[in-house]
């Protein structure tokens, strides 16, 4: 049994974010972090590894600095890393990205008792699409919003979270699970694993490594191949200076309610 995890290095959008004069985000000025939901996916894989002793392989598609993230995951206990990086893959939307990741996982070798763990969504795109789309491309059953996992033989009993409760679902391997923060508390790196992180195997899949895979088609990868395009992007205007609403009666509170309603806050 092998456990695959798809991980993304993302800008830290929870902190202060700066905007360039043209309205686009200044990515260069932002710290990068490991996507939080992906850490839950890594932790789920590592917990299974603690129980069964199997191998955990992390896959990421990104520019060369993403290798640093793979080393951090190895410092948590991940055994191997695969960095998928190529100019041709840049600018991919979720459809194109999931094709590439699926091709990479398939190239590495996906067997009947393997499991793919993904985070539910990334904090930059916020789409939650890549996990299910990888599952579709690899013809794997998927369960998303996984809040609990139990392994019994070659089947998994998982809890799919709903807004007001959950479904208990049984799924056989190979399968793909998307993980949410309720699933677990990701572990820290630890000293022993840090000291050997840089010795663990890290493979780079560039364009040549994947170009012959059936899922990789110049027409379906990268910016050109992405079904969706950005038409416009802009930053919501900054918070104006506060203002004190006039009066202290029902008309005042009505005005406030109107403001909140217009902002979709109620």
């Amino acid at each position: 049994m092998k456990l695959f995890v798809t991980v993304k290095q993302v800008p830290d959008t929870s902190g202060k974010v700066s905007v360039k004069p043209d309205g686009t985000l200044d990515r260069a000025s932002m710290q990068t972090v490991i996507n939080p939901d992906d850490l839950n996916a890594v932790e789920a894989a590592l917990q299974l590894k603690d129980a069964c002793g199997c191998k955990v392989v992390a896959f990421t598609m990104g520019p060369p600095p993403a290798e640093g993230m793979l080393r951090e995951l190895m410092a948590m206990g991940v055994d191997e890393g695969v960095l998928i990086t190529a100019r041709e893959f840049g600018g991919s939307d979720t459809y194109a990205t999931s094709q590439i990741l699926a091709a990479a996982i398939d190239t590495y070798g996906l067997e009947a008792d393997d499991i793919v763990f993904s985070g539910r969504q990334a904090i930059d795109g916020d789409t939650a699409q890549v996990g299910p789309q990888i599952a579709e491309k690899l013809h794997l059953p998927q369960v998303s919003y996984v809040g609990a996992i139990e392994k019994n033989g070659d089947a998994l009993t998982v809890r799919r979270l709903l807004e007001d409760g959950y479904m208990t679902v049984k799924v056989r391997t190979p399968c793909l699970l998307t993980c949410v923060k309720e699933l677990n508390t990701p572990r820290y790196m630890n000293i022993r694993e840090i000291l050997c992180a840089y010795e663990k195997p890290l493979t780079v899949y560039d364009y040549d490594a994947l170009k012959d895979h059936p899922l990789i088609d110049a027409e379906t990868i990268g910016l050109k191949g992405s079904p969706t395009n950005i038409y416009k992007s802009f930053t919501p205007p900054p918070k104006g200076a506060g203002r004190i609403l006039e009066g202290s009666d029902r008309s005042t509170t009505d005005e406030l309610a109107g403001i909140l309603a217009a902002k979709h806050l109620i």
Partner: protein, 378 residues
Amino acid sequence: MDFNLSREHLLIRKMMAQFTENEVKPIAAETDRTHEYPRETMEKLFDLGVLGINVPREYGGAGADALANAICIEELSKQCASTGDIVAAYALCADPIAAYGTEEQKRKYLPMLTTGHKMGAFALTEPNAGSDASKGQTEAKLEGDHYVLNGSKIFITNGYVAEVFVVFAMTDKSKGTKGISAFIVENTFPGFSVGKHEEKMGLHGSPTAEIVFQDCIVPKENLLGQEGKGFRIAMATLDGGRIGIAAQALGIAEGALQEAIQYTKSRIQFGKPISKFQNTQFTLADMELGCEAGRLLTYQAAVLKSQGRPFTKEAAMAKLFCSEHAMKTTTKALQLFGGYGYTNDYPIERMMRDAKITEIYEGTSEIQRVVISANMGL
């Protein structure tokens, strides 16, 4: 000369910063208030390999170097000097066993101190023997297959939580410092008891106690090193321990500096943030300078130690400098906070109370100067 930390050391720092932010910072004020030993934090630090970081891998440790230990203590101390102190003092027990123990002693005690999650302590100081360590009165008499220890030790960090102690006692009163021997003592040995729990000005989370030996039976095989070599073992252990305390004091200063920067940038008086006034800026600049200097001294001592080179003078310099800087920085930082700094709304008053002891324990600043001058050929 490469001043950059290695990739591994950078990851260690990153991990410790995350750990400290999530696990230590939220309970630091409460720990100071309740004086409760942060047991859960210590369990996690055992799991992460931070406690036992320098113990060789084959005995359950992480097998990392002195710089790794210093970085861990530094990061922890930025938010909670008590936590940093416990980790620093632990090493004074694990390190001499690893360095001077027989194979049997190492195989027995190092796993207890690492995978066994047992806390360790170092017991040298006595009521009448502080800086003058050679005047210790605790005696160890050999009687057949065991030693009998009588006496007491005070101000022992981890005193009432540790299960393994490295204890120094006189096996031959006539030989002065050459009559001191080191022993590995478990808190379960008959005749061992914990006395007074010290209530201190600061480091409230660090458990400090008196240890009492009343006809305490210590097996013969628990003699650490040879009879009469105990003083050398103590001094060598303290040399390394000073790097840990330097790191602790450095962390305190760095934490105080960060708090001061944050506060002065948001506190508005006379129409602007007080960080814009030159007096504030100069004060902060001096703090920054001292932190940078202290960091370089501490890391240098750590690297020398891990390279197996002499480091006694450098460790003393680091400890002396960082501890005095910590006291100065926390005092000045509190001044920048004004009245608010004197309240426990902000952590700065705790940092100031915590900083003071770093100028005293593991060799007072005066003793550090003795050590430095002794290494200058004067």
